[in-house]
């Protein structure tokens, strides 16, 4: 199967397979991403984060409705945590997006975190590129939803939607700086539960400190995804925020920032892989741990030694 052509033609099988290659770190994945790269940059990436149970998936489901209503093709990557003990996962977010089960303009892919911290999977960054290249206009990236650690989604998204709900301790969570800095648009879902108004006031209070000069003026949106309430307001807020970020250049800055972060990530990984070829980190690691544990070696000196070895080996290679 020619995955490159298949992805560009948005063939579901090709798109699905391409994402799997990336997830599994298949040797072909990197070449595919490079080939698809010129075709990326068109899709709008919207991160959706918030505590588990806040209703992210249901909200995304409703937003998909609105996107489809506006004639746009939509993709979703929904991330769920892998069990740290068994490595397995139940990927259950798409259950709440069943109304789009047979819509050809909607592509939903669940991903397990596979040990990645940061709220998304390691492969999410490249996976959304595939969806971008396949021509989806909007890509929702739904994180695991553990709040503060979800910084990766900011890197991957053009806009981040932070979903809160009353009574989940979000009042306190909202105060924690990390979470509030992540969001561009704030939604209080399950607005019919007690405490919704109080939560809104608290969130607005914290937001007033965040950007005294500029940034988003968007008010907190009150919604009930299950009852399809507040969704049009949310979609409008997203639209306005997007228009603003295009106009004031912040979208472009953000995308350049993302490329920079990705580049750093690739560099880091590749250097590590390169080092590993000569230094065989995984094989040696056990021995080094022993030496250090017994204080027979010192950590920085040990690593310097390995780098020396690596440079020498590479030098020898260059000579031959």
């Amino acid at each position: 199967m020619d995955l490159y052509a298949g992805v560009l033609a948005a063939e579901p099988r090709a798109v699905g397979r391409a994402i799997s290659l990336i997830e599994n770190r298949d040797a072909q994945a990197e070449a595919l991403i490079d080939r698809l790269y010129p075709h990326t940059g068109k899709a709008l990436m919207i991160g959706v984060t918030g505590s588990p149970g806040a209703g992210k998936s249901t909200l995304v489901d409703r937003l998909i409705d609105r996107e489809r209503g506006a004639g746009r093709k939509v993709a979703v990557i929904a991330v769920d945590p892998s069990s740290p003990f068994t490595g397995g996962a139940i990927l259950g977010d798409r259950l709440r997006m069943q109304s789009h089960a047979t819509d050809p303009g909607v592509f939903i892919r669940s991903m397990a975190s596979r040990g990645s911290l940061g709220g998304v999977a390691a492969a999410t960054g490249d996976a959304v590129r595939v969806l971008d290249a396949a021509g989806y206009d909007t890509v929702f990236i739904e994180t695991i939803g553990v709040g503060q650690t979800e910084v990766r989604v900011v890197e991957l998204s053009d806009l981040v939607l932070l979903v809160l709900m009353p009574g989940a301790g979000d009042e306190i969570q909202a105060m924690k700086a990390g979470v509030m800095e992540i969001g561009d648009i704030f939604v209080i879902n399950k607005k019919d539960l007690p405490g919704a108004d109080r939560l809104r006031l608290e969130v607005e209070y914290v937001l007033s400190f965040k950007n005294p000069q500029g940034g988003s003026d968007e008010p907190v949106v009150m919604a009930s995804a299950v009852n399809d309430q507040g969704i049009d307001e949310l979609a409008a807020a997203l639209g306005r925020r997007l228009a603003q970020s295009r106009a004031d250049g912040s979208l472009e800055r953000r995308r350049r920032f993302r490329i920079g972060r990705e580049l750093e990530g690739i560099l880091s990984r590749k250097i590590h892989e390169l080092l590993d070829v000569h230094v065989e980190v995984s094989k040696q690691l056990g021995g080094w741990i022993e030496e250090l544990y017994r204080k027979e070696a010192r950590p920085y000196a040990l690593v310097e030694q390995q780098i020396e070895r690596f440079l020498k080996d590479r030098g020898k290679e260059a000579d031959t």
Binding site: I90, G92, L95, Q98, S99
Partner: protein, 555 residues
């Protein structure tokens, strides 16, 4: 305050018991009930007083009904032997009903296929492969007429396992009966009509909870006025147990659903004593015989108290928990199917010792297929042997006073109240379901049970212990695959005969009525049914007006 019995127990433990334990330890560390609750070696009189007896146990036919809902119980009238049946076409099911009645069954119980239960006609795309498989296919009144052809509805009571479209099937039944020349006032029977459990344990819902409750209360009001001998609901715990809950959860979630229905009816303007006497229940008879007996007794006592203290019922009938029982299907095995005959006998005995009003016994091959004639006859014979040969019907609530049974009854009651309180704290059953609380409880219990089976801690004879070489199963019932074509032909024929304009008119009237919550929909449904509107057509109107429910999946 130590008493003579306590002292004697201590002495017994220190001497006779220990002597044996030292040489032959018990074969398990801990003994548990079927619901995984600890069971003591021995139960002794709790030093209970006369007051306690009168308050907690009392007399059959009187509050709190622990010992039974009628003063004479089986000495006055045996439980109704009511085998759940139905498959394929109405004609085939009619034959099976006649067979069962000839063999001595005393009431009818109708099983409908999944398309019918979910409001689809046999020609709907989603009905593919499902027509006639788990029950009879009913698309129009014409099918219903064939189903009861030659069966005098005035002489037999009929229970129909139908929930989301219960009102429609009830109307069809009334229409058939009236064609037989009967007065609807005289009709006896039950519709299951318990939509709340569908959301958590059975899955044949159509509409969301609010409009579904409206349909339920409409049937209460209609039956109270027009079909007063009819049980307008069978609030069910059977399926909750089958989904994996334990005994206390089975009772708790059933009674919590019951509370919800009573609340809804009262909100709709009825007074408790007007309708509560016609609420009935449906429980599981599971493996652990003694726990099941205690469960039934606890259920009666709790419901009586709820009706009296919470809802202010005055009529004793409103406080009486009358119930049908089915032996637990999920306990039956595909391996060594004859073992199932024994399981069913033990489970049926539990139901009888527990005071059931009506009983279905499963057949030996039910882990594999619907029962063949001789299997279902044997299941019926099981009930008849219990009734006429075992002697347990000669006295009322024979296990009362057993120290274990009374302790177990009390324990289950306590656990049930705890669940009910938690559900109330969440705002009632509907929020609890939407939030997933109920489903999680059931899931956890189901998970633990299966893990215990897979580890061997819970023995399933013939499956994880005492296996044998399996012989291929004997002739199993097969539903004629041509059933779908047969139904399609019948549907086409009915549609061609009926008056299309009148059908449309009744459907439009129904649509209008659906939009007005003050309108009772039952007469409108009856009008549509009488014009041979199809089940699917009626449900489609309601789907459009009420919307469809989507599962809250809890995993």
């Amino acid at each position: 305050m130590p008493n003579k019995i306590d002292d004697a127990r201590n002495r017994w433990e220190e001497t006779s018991l220990n002597k044996v334990l030292n040489r032959f330890p018990e074969w398990r560390e801990e003994f548990v009930t079927g619901s995984d609750k600890p069971v003591d070696r021995l139960y002794l009189p709790e030093g209970s007083t006369e007051e306690e007896y009168l308050e907690k146990i009392g007399f059959p036919g009187e509050y709190p009904f622990t010992r039974g809902v009628q003063p004479t119980m089986y000495r006055g009238r045996l439980w109704t032997m009511r085998q759940y049946a139905g498959f394929g076409s109405a004609a085939e099911s009619n034959r099976r009903y006649k067979f069962l009645l000839e063999q001595g069954q005393t009431g009818l119980s109708v099983a409908f296929d999944l398309p019918t239960q979910i409001g689809y006609d046999s020609d709907a795309p989603l009905a593919a492969g499902e027509v006639g498989k788990v029950g009879v296919a009913i698309d129009t009144l014409a099918d219903m007429e064939v189903l009861f052809d030659g069966i005098p509805l005035g002489k037999v009571s009929t229970s129909m396992t139908i929930n989301a479209p219960a009102a429609i099937l009830l109307c069809m039944y009334i229409a058939v009966a009236e064609k037989q020349g009967l007065e609807r006032r005289s009709l006896r029977g039950t519709i299951q009509n318990d939509i709340l459990k569908e959301y958590v344990a059975r899955g044949t819902y159509i509409f969301p909870p609010e409009p579904s409750m409206r349909l339920v209360t409409d049937t209460f009001a209609f039956c109270t006025a027009e079909v007063p001998e009819w049980n307008s609901i069978s609030i069910s715990g059977y399926h909750i147990r089958e989904a994996g809950s334990d005994a206390s959860q089975e009772v708790a979630f059933t009674l919590a659903n019951g509370i919800e229905y009573v609340k809804a009816a009262v909100k709709a303007g009825m007074t408790v004593d007007e309708f509560a006497g016609r609420l009935s229940f449906f429980f599981n008879a599971h493996n652990d015989l003694l726990e099941e007996v205690a469960k039934f007794r606890a259920a009666r006592r709790i419901w009586a108290r709820i009706m009296k203290e919470r809802f202010g019922a005055r009529d004793p009938k409103s406080m009486s928990l009358r119930f049908h029982t089915q032996t637990g299907g999920s306990t039956l095995t595909a391996q060594q199917p004859d073992n199932n005959i024994v399981r069913v006998a033990v489970q049926a005995l539990a139901a009888v010792l527990g005071g059931t009003q009506s009983l279905h016994t499963n057949s030996r091959e039910e882990a594999l297929a619907l029962p063949a004639e001789d299997s279902v006859r044997l299941a019926l014979r099981t009930q008849q042997i219990l009734a006429h040969e075992s002697g347990v019907t000669a006295t009322i609530d024979p296990l009362a006073g057993s120290y274990y049974i009374e302790a177990l009854t009390d324990r289950i009651e306590l656990e049930v109240w705890q669940y009910i309180d938690r559900i109330e704290a969440l705002g009632g059953m509907i929020p609890s379901i939407q939030e997933g609380f109920v489903q999680r409880q059931i899931q956890e219990a189901a998970y633990r049970t299966q893990k215990d089976i897979e580890s061997g801690k819970r023995v399933v004879v013939g499956v994880n212990k005492f296996q044998a070489e399996e012989r291929p199963p004997r002739d199993l019932l097969k539903v004629d695959p041509a059933i779908r074509e047969v139904q399609l032909a019948r549907l086409a024929e009915v549609k061609s005969r009926r008056n299309g304009e009148r059908v449309s008119a009744t459907l439009e009237a129904l649509r209008k009525g659906a939009r007005d919550t003050d309108t009772n929909l039952i007469p409108l449904i009856l009008a549509a049914v009488q014009e041979y509107a199809t089940l699917g057509e009626i449900c489609q109107i309601l789907r459009e007006e009420f919307g469809e429910h989507h599962e809250t999946i809890v995993l």
